[in-house]
Amino acid sequence: MKSIRRMSLLLLIMAMFLAACGNSGSGSNKADGTKKEEKIKLSIWHNFAGDDLRAKTVRDLIDKFAQEHPEVELDAQAIPPDGYRQRLSTVAAGNELPDLFFVYAGSHSAELYNAGLLQPITEVTDQYPEWRDKFLPGAFDPYTFEPDKIYSAPIGMSATSILYYNKSLFEQYNVKVPTTWDEMMIAIDIFNENKITPIALGNKAPWVAQSTIIGSLADRVTGTEWFMNAVAQNGAEFTDPEFIEALGYFKQLVDKKVFQEGANSIDNTQAEQYFIQGNAAMMISGAWSLTNMAASASEEQMNVVDVTVLPAIPGGKGNANSISGGAGGGLALSTRTEGAVKDAALELIYAVSGPEAQKAIAESNSMVMYDTDIDESKVSSLYYKAFNLVKQSNITPVYDAYLSAEAAEVINNGLQEIMVGGTPESVAKKLQEAQARSKNQ
């Protein structure tokens, strides 16, 4: 008992000491506030919290803005991406959003817009028209909720369906890199016979198969127009035969045991590693894999990897030379931000997504939705290949950027269902119901 008491006393003293520290900390903050009352207080939340090049680049851009604008007292919060949405949702419920915050393209920003929490940033895009016009086609689509009003400028670009392949495995087994579905089937058979996993997939977070495979695959079958109509529930439905056919191609992959066993219980990073270590011949993944692999693979491992687009589908209505992708997230402006704070916030948007920023981000081995040239020597060779591949390809929509949040969840789970024995028809039916329900609300 004595030692417990002694210990609790010690802890109590420590606690009081810390409390004193904490208080003095917040106290001095307040003092600052009163002294320099003219300072513009600007708060920003983003999720560039990690140690990867892109996150560091964006943080540097924000720091640079703070240095160049001494009149602004910037409160920048880097929130771990894993908890970012949860944090933002909770705070939005309390109507306590910061002045500027990072939003994802698609249903995330749409929900915030629908709740009346965003205001347009068109002022800043009109102020720098040469900047606005150098964005790639469609860059502002997910952020144009009303005609001629832009609500965010994408900081990056998601290219989600790059076909990565291991050149040395293709050479070793004398396989042609597939450009048609039939060639893909042949390649799969050869690798399976040789006990090489044809395609690595880590679908534990169920958005992966949807984002990397189905968007691109289905677009080849149905064409983009059909998808946009189905999203709008305007003359097309997800139960239409073309979509069931598209899911059927996915099922065909599953039935041919294309993915390694248990793909639904390993994560993205593990699948990338499985591929880069030569256990799998191919991997269909987004541009993010470039960053991840660069951080953890050796040079020899990276040198045998090459990139291309998914193979064409016979008789498909869509363009085969395409990659699914679109505008990445960007900074959005809270409705409550006004006056001088708003001006500063718009400047900060330009600082983080303006021409120089786009170039810096592109050179941090990360795709941008902006017409910029990059210095080949500053980036990895695989990234350079992928950058040019994306530039030369058509960009088709990623499903979850357009579906409602609920419908996206349904297709995510539905693909896992097909992987454990479900049928395309039942998944299509559920997706149709979910999208129709969201549209009717």
């Binding site: 008992m1 904490g22 929130i79």
Partner: protein, 293 residues
């Protein structure tokens, strides 16, 4: 002092607990226990070897020792995660909340186990209900409420909810434990002229050291590892706690396992220390406590 020695004599508990144990373990029994211990210790070992690997090494040889020992993982995680400050914050928040939980929980448990009064059933039921509440469902209301009373973004925004959510467990463990303390002890103390506060402070609480230690361990682990509250109720960088540092190295598209493991290895050391200190307290038990007290 006198009182306590007499009490101790009354209950005369075998401090080594020898008589309580099942008679001598067979060799086979010991082997099974050792096997089980290996199963439970292995993840700790795995965490520490993984914390020193490169990402490539981690994936290639998940079970073997590191090829090269990357001390850098630890130092980089420490620096990037701002873990020094986070560690101080976590320590302060956790310890304050544990002390509050102990004092309030054991007092309440004592009252609820020993006294008959009108609203007792209501109080017990309320606390019981507290055990059933999934914390995620209270995030939004708690946020709204603490926002209204200007508690957000202070240490108290964590300390008070932590304590409140741990109280049901503390109260229940205390009630269960009190049942095994003979009432004669209190009666003897009463005769010696103590009021209820005296009985509780001088007799009951010292007898509670095993359950104090148990509650402390469980509460400490819960508070130390909490992510959800820390994520939502704290805003300022200087107030952030450890679990937020641990999740920095995963961005939804990929995870930097070596840095994550490095950060986790740092964060787990205090918890092991606290457990080892408190586990002795559980065992030293009552006689030692009440005699020397």
């Amino acid at each position: 002092m006198e009182l306590r020695t007499t009490t101790a004599a009354n209950i005369a508990i075998d401090s080594t607990g020898k008589k309580l144990a099942l008679k001598g373990l067979s060799v086979l029994g010991k082997l099974i226990l050792i096997g089980y211990a290996v199963l439970t210790l292995y993840p700790l070992y795995w965490l520490f070897i993984s914390a020193f690997k490169t990402n490539e090494d981690f994936f290639k040889n998940p079970y073997s020792l590191p090829h090269a020992w990357m001390i850098e993982n630890i130092t980089r995680a420490w620096k990037l995660g701002n873990m020094g400050r986070a560690m101080l914050n976590s320590t302060f928040v956790t310890i304050t909340a544990v002390i509050l939980t102990l004092v309030l929980g054991i007092l309440a448990g004592y009252v609820l186990s020993r006294f008959e009064f009108r609203f007792k059933k209501v109080a017990v039921t309320l606390f019981l209900a507290g055990l059933l509440i999934p914390i995620h469902s209270t995030l939004v209301p708690l946020f709204l409420m603490m926002n209204k009373i200007h508690l957000l973004d202070t240490y108290w925004a964590l300390i008070l909810p932590y304590t409140a959510f741990e109280l049901p467990l503390a109260v229940f463990l205390a009630i269960g434990y009190m049942a095994s303390i003979p009432r004669e002890i209190e009666e003897a103390a009463m005769i010696d002229g103590n009021g209820w506060w005296g009985v509780f402070g001088r007799v009951i609480f010292p007898l509670c050291s095993p359950i104090v230690a148990t509650i402390s361990i469980l509460a400490f682990l819960r508070f130390w590892n909490d992510f959800s509250f820390a994520l939502v109720f704290i805003n300022s960088q200087v107030l952030k706690t450890l679990p937020l540092s641990l999740s920095l190295f995963s961005d939804g598209f990929g995870t930097d396992y070596s840095l994550t493991m490095g950060a986790m290895a740092i964060a787990v050391i205090p918890t092991i220390a606290v457990y080892l200190i408190l586990q002795d307290q559980i065992m030293k038990g009552m006689v030692a406590g009440s005699v020397k007290g």
